[in-house]
């Protein structure tokens, strides 16, 4: 279905899916801008695409494999892997709790 108006609930839903947390004022402004964009891109519905296949990539390549061998040049040490993390603990990345207790 072609859509040009987005309700506040839909905007909120999209923000949740996108893991964005704008405050209420920002969400309204963002919602309006997204709506403008969606209205513009909805123009595509005018194009006749009956029986036209989708394109997912343009390389024409398929099944690019490599041997299941370790490439030592690309192995990171634990320190390298943790280096940019804001929170690390005993060699682990720290994540927000997902269980309540």
């Amino acid at each position: 279905m072609i859509k040009t108006k987005l309700s506040p609930q839909e905007i909120k839903h999209i923000a949740i899916l996108a893991k964005l947390e704008p405050n209420q004022g920002e969400e309204i402004a963002l919602g309006k801008q997204v709506e403008i964009t969606v209205e513009y891109i909805s123009e595509l519905s005018e194009v006749d695409t009956a029986n036209v296949p989708i394109t997912t990539q343009v390389t024409g390549l398929t099944n690019i494999f490599r041997e299941d061998l370790i490439d030592k040049k690309r192995v990171l040490t634990q320190n390298q892997a943790l280096f940019n993390a804001k929170r690390a603990h005993n060699g682990y990345f720290v994540v927000n709790a997902i269980f309540e207790d």
């Binding site: 996108a18 513009y40 891109i41 595509l44 695409t49 394109t55 390549l61 990171l76």
Partner: protein, 473 residues
């Protein structure tokens, strides 16, 4: 004349003959940056001068036979390519100070040739923009008129080339990001065939559209850079095994017999009159050089924008999901409004109720574009098109207007959608002395032809040799 006004071939000859050393080039580059970049702001990270001098000294210690033409040559990269020991930010606060544990393939290939990186350059964050205003590191001002944008998303590299801070740059083009700033800064840039250059280590914007390419003062310089960076990479499974021609060799072939298509729909009322006039003049030069330029019809042009602004935001919403502040970087609250808007648009287009009408529809129209361009490019060596519908705007004009921001990409997005290469080069100036660019699009892997046409045009014209008043003192 300054060393950095010379082209790669001249510098390479002088370096080999030991008339100059890489240290001379580094010294001049840093002097120029210190003198002018405060007015332009093209750098996010300027490599420490002593480090660059040391790199040059290390280079001189090693006896290299058959030196690459890029040996000792200073270059910059859009800050979308990861470099060990030098921060990579993608112009976002999220990656401020991020130190990558590995090098992007394009960077590795260039330093293996002996080229010397002097900076990571300003851009629209994550590639999201056409004006280098969507950056957390201050806007990049157009060296030709500092009240105007340098274009985007790769404004930093283009502005640096225009200001002669270095010899070449590496940009990235997803919807026009290397061609738009080249046109607005009066320099040359190549959007390569998708898969021609490895994307390993390139911070992903839209993975089915992103390309890695060279920007420089001239087509010939771009050819030398492309020779060094093109070619299949086992680390990038979308990189092409297509052999890499010796681009700098066939670049002087006569244009007699070349057929160039001139799509009439591209030259309508939405196109700035001065840009249109400049391209009509360029058409005459190409004809003078022996090419046949014929009018054709490509009526689909206007649909390129909605196709791109569905596919790119969708793919970016997925690619930017990795920035969760856990393994690296800051939190998602640090995204700019423009980036949030693109993520939201993409999330919308991919969401269950709308996927078919938007994302899938865009993928089908993409097929129509591919078929149409193939039918044209089977008969023509190139399509001659404007790069942008407007001249470089004053600050704030694009960023605050979602529709204008999108339509600035009108002429550039189709090359990305289809995957074909396109060469952007200067073809004139407006009466206010703002650069005007044109582009030559070709079929897949036709870089050799495009570079040839562009180079012969540059042998006949001087637009690409002009420099902004800013650096003329």
């Amino acid at each position: 004349m300054f060393l950095l006004y010379n082209n790669i071939k001249e510098l390479s000859n002088d370096l080999n003959a030991k008339k100059i050393s890489p240290i001379d080039l580094i010294d001049e580059a840093y002097t120029r940056v210190k003198k002018y970049d405060s007015k332009v702001n093209s750098f996010i990270t300027l490599v420490n001068r002593n480090d660059s001098i040391n790199t040059a000294k290390e280079l001189l210690k090693v006896k290299t036979k058959n030196k690459s033409p890029l040996y000792g040559i200073p270059f910059v990269m859009k800050d979308a390519y990861v470099t060990q020991n030098i921060p990579t930010t993608a112009a976002s606060k999220i990656l401020k100070g991020f130190m990558s544990p590995y090098n992007a393939t394009v960077y590795q290939r260039l330093i293996d040739c002996g080229a010397i990186l002097i900076g990571k350059m300003n851009m629209d964050a994550w590639g999201h923009g056409a004006s280098t205003e969507n950056t957390d590191y201050g806007v990049t001002k157009n060296p030709w008129d500092q009240s105007r944008t340098s274009g985007g998303s790769g404004g930093g590299p283009s502005a640096a080339i225009a200001s002669r801070f270095c010899t070449f740059g590496i940009g990235e083009d997803t919807g026009g990001s290397i061609r738009n700033p080249a046109a607005w800064c009066g320099v040359t840039a190549l959007k390569v065939t998708y898969g021609r250059v490895s994307r390993y280590g390139a911070i992903a914007y839209a993975s089915s559209l992103d390309t890695v390419g060279p920007t420089a003062k001239s087509v010939l310089d771009c050819a030398f850079v492309l020779e060094a960076i093109a070619g299949v990479d086992p680390y990038d499974s979308t990189s092409s095994p297509e052999p890499v021609p010796h681009y700098s060799k066939s670049i002087e072939n006569s244009l007699k017999g070349k057929k160039i298509a001139f799509p009439t729909e591209f030259y309508n009322e939405s196109l700035d009159v001065e840009i249109s006039e400049a391209i009509f003049e360029a058409k005459k030069v190409l004809e003078f050089l022996g090419a046949k330029v014929e009018e054709i019809s490509i009526p689909m042009l206007e649909y390129g924008i909605p196709v791109y602004y569905i596919l790119a935001p969708s793919e970016t919403s997925s690619n930017l999901a990795r920035y969760d502040g856990v393994r690296y970087g800051g939190g998602r609250d640090l995204f700019t409004k423009e980036t949030e808007r693109r993520i939201m648009t993409g999330t919308f287009a991919l969401s269950t109720s709308y996927y078919d009408a938007y994302y899938k529809k865009a993928q089908k129209v993409r097929t129509l574009f591919i078929n149409k361009y193939k039918s044209v490019l089977d008969k023509y060596d190139a399509i001659l098109a404007p790069v942008t519908p407007i001249q470089p705007p004053k600050f704030g004009k694009l960023l605050n207007d979602p529709i204008k921001n999108m339509t600035a990409d009108l002429y550039t997005v189709t090359a990305n959608i289809v995957g074909v290469p396109s060469l952007a080069l200067p073809c004139g100036f407006s009466k206010e002395n703002l650069p005007i660019g044109m582009q030559l699009m070709g079929s897949m892997f036709s870089e050799e032809t495009l570079l040839n046409i562009g180079n012969m045009y540059q042998q006949e014209t001087n637009w690409h040799k002009q420099v902004p008043n800013l650096i003329k003192d």
